[in-house]
Symmetry: D2
Subunit: 238 residues, 4 copies
Amino acid sequence: MVQVTVWNEFRHEREDEAVKEQYPDGIHEVLAECLAERGFETRTATLDEPEHGLTEAVLEDTDVLLWWGHAAHDEVEDAIVERVHERVLDGMGLLVLHSAHYSKIFKRLMGTSCSLKWREEGERERLWVVEPSHPIAAGVEEFIELSEAEMYGERFDVPEPETLVFNSWFEGGNVFRSGCCYRRGSGKIFYFRPGHETYPIYRRPEIQQVIANAVRWAAPTEGPEPTYGEREPIEHLD
Amino acid sequence: MVQVTVWNEFRHEREDEAVKEQYPDGIHEVLAECLAERGFETRTATLDEPEHGLTEAVLEDTDVLLWWGHAAHDEVEDAIVERVHERVLDGMGLLVLHSAHYSKIFKRLMGTSCSLKWREEGERERLWVVEPSHPIAAGVEEFIELSEAEMYGERFDVPEPETLVFNSWFEGGNVFRSGCCYRRGSGKIFYFRPGHETYPIYRRPEIQQVIANAVRWAAPTEGPEPTYGEREPIEHLD
Amino acid sequence: MVQVTVWNEFRHEREDEAVKEQYPDGIHEVLAECLAERGFETRTATLDEPEHGLTEAVLEDTDVLLWWGHAAHDEVEDAIVERVHERVLDGMGLLVLHSAHYSKIFKRLMGTSCSLKWREEGERERLWVVEPSHPIAAGVEEFIELSEAEMYGERFDVPEPETLVFNSWFEGGNVFRSGCCYRRGSGKIFYFRPGHETYPIYRRPEIQQVIANAVRWAAPTEGPEPTYGEREPIEHLD
Amino acid sequence: MVQVTVWNEFRHEREDEAVKEQYPDGIHEVLAECLAERGFETRTATLDEPEHGLTEAVLEDTDVLLWWGHAAHDEVEDAIVERVHERVLDGMGLLVLHSAHYSKIFKRLMGTSCSLKWREEGERERLWVVEPSHPIAAGVEEFIELSEAEMYGERFDVPEPETLVFNSWFEGGNVFRSGCCYRRGSGKIFYFRPGHETYPIYRRPEIQQVIANAVRWAAPTEGPEPTYGEREPIEHLD
């Protein structure tokens, strides 16, 4: 059974009335619940817990980590970022949601600025599936339409994704690579754009479906554990 | 339950004593059996059956097709190749084994010559896993060693694989990209190098494991069925 | 000096008054001229010439071939398609323009249907550069805007491009991967979406700039000519 | 004219007699000289200079930076690593040579451990060209043979390269992806394996040819400078 930890900054929902209305118990609870309903074993962790809720023990028991952050990326301690980074390289899956494009852990894994254009006007977004055979697109229509979304636009400063699953159209004239697959070490990473805190996007069944698909895709497989360092020759040398 | 059809040219095993000894009932039977043991629903089809055993009905019921051919690629009828091609674009997975690199269907899907260097001296091969987190590498050690193999060497004239899972070392001084993932239309394709007819390679548990992994990976997912052609605007045009 | 052959179906311009007005001497002449101005040695070839103007001698002298076709893809003889295909694998660059996504040669090289959604309403298109460091994007702004364009929309049934340079936004609500790089054999291929016959798109300096960049990128380099077939061991075998 | 800075740790050559014999003035001088002979404007920089020789002014004037380090990666100051990192994202090319796979800057750009297997026995290496049409392979034969090389073996913990140009065979039974292209931000990166300090590998004309090719490939192009941050809508919102 895949074990999922949903990490959330969990500040907006406590400090901002509009957000509290959307997500009274926090974005993490909505995400954890929808994943539990789909058969995953879930727990949550938030910024203001000790070690941000991401102790060695928690990470050890996590197959896939979801990460949502926005206003307090800088408050995430570097030591915890390194711990998460090591676990990803070691095989833990990572889902990077919406404004977490700017999280320390995503920038650490990508090696780039992860910058983009943005605008908060509640415009229409249409996420087109460009790779319909990818498991992350299972159960989805040809596009997902969001009537009100924050805009994220290209250039998105990330390495070219190993697979681009979703490609977004925005009413205001922009496009965005909004569903991007990566592999780093033995860990699989999926960046998924939707999910602003003031729109009830994580309650949408299609969005929940994509997230559940991505968790399944990112879960570790039982591949060989790579070993490194000095090695004797396997074959006889002249 | 994933439905697998194992297609085999099935000539060597009837005409050549050495091959008959290795695979008395044909390569297809060994492959079908090892997949059945791993929980797949399997059937076989061979060149000399009517329509090469690949009727519309058979293909309709096939989630993943395995293809082994060597000496009679040219005898595969173009109409059947087109039929298989359409099914792949429509979502059927395809495993292309060993000398099937030169099959009509693989060349049709790759758009290249699929040529390579080769040598039949029974030399050692070591297939190194270069992407340990890929599901096709599950349950495999850091490398698979074959004590006697036909050599296939670079330049392998195929498009750069979407993921390279195995990279082969040969005793005689060559290397080869020996486990290559592709996506064409809604179909997933895996080229896997091992498997010459005079070596009992398909009886090796690690090889069977990789093939079973690849079947699981290549099985169709329930993504959107893409539609094409003229379309009304979704948004109002100025 | 890079030698370019511009191939054009050249039917619309002779049969349709609106197209004749845009391109009185044919699309090929406008393209050849703009490339000549940028220092390329150019010639043209059209469908109704003997061998479609693509004799062995012409192809032998061609470093990069541009291909524009629309209504008469089926009239291109298979033998000529095979000849062009071989030259591409052998190193000749190929630029596939607009409706040539459906040409025999592009489908032959891609191995897929190359289908897409389309609409001819003269809507706005914005081609966003997603890979600004690619040489094909040199001298271009963050996006190219076309005030009137035919729409091409996803799902575009092609293999995932090796590099995606342009990503298009359309007024009517669609997106499209509109600048796609591929490598097949020793040949480089660039698919570039803009260029409908009834809009004067090929007279736009930015579009001409992209095409010239792509010609430079696709021109053959002096890499090793790969050899294939049976080979002696390079190393001593046990 | 492309401006190249060759950075070298430059410790082995001063401290170890065997290395001093190979490279009396340092690896950087041999590399700078061979590039100057091929028409590049070159300078050098070394670890023990102030700011490791990589001042803002030097980097500003550098189109492509070569990096060779081995025993003192940790002595490179983080602030300088960040400076180089920013310049790469901003468009400067970077060639990462041999043991620099473990440099701070390469790990920073890759986001992975960059670990590998290794062995120093002076064994044979054969670098096979797997992508002959890539400009980095220009002027090279089907393989480059090194009679005595340090072994680097898979699993090499890097993201899958955007293009794999060279694939190495080692006498002792290992393989290695030895010529790997990446793009990060607007910068192009090439990792090239050969070059141990006790073998005169950088004096080999084929190796010099590859390095010169890679400098040309990695040099910045005049693409759009991406802009980021909040943006007004381009299109009218409902």
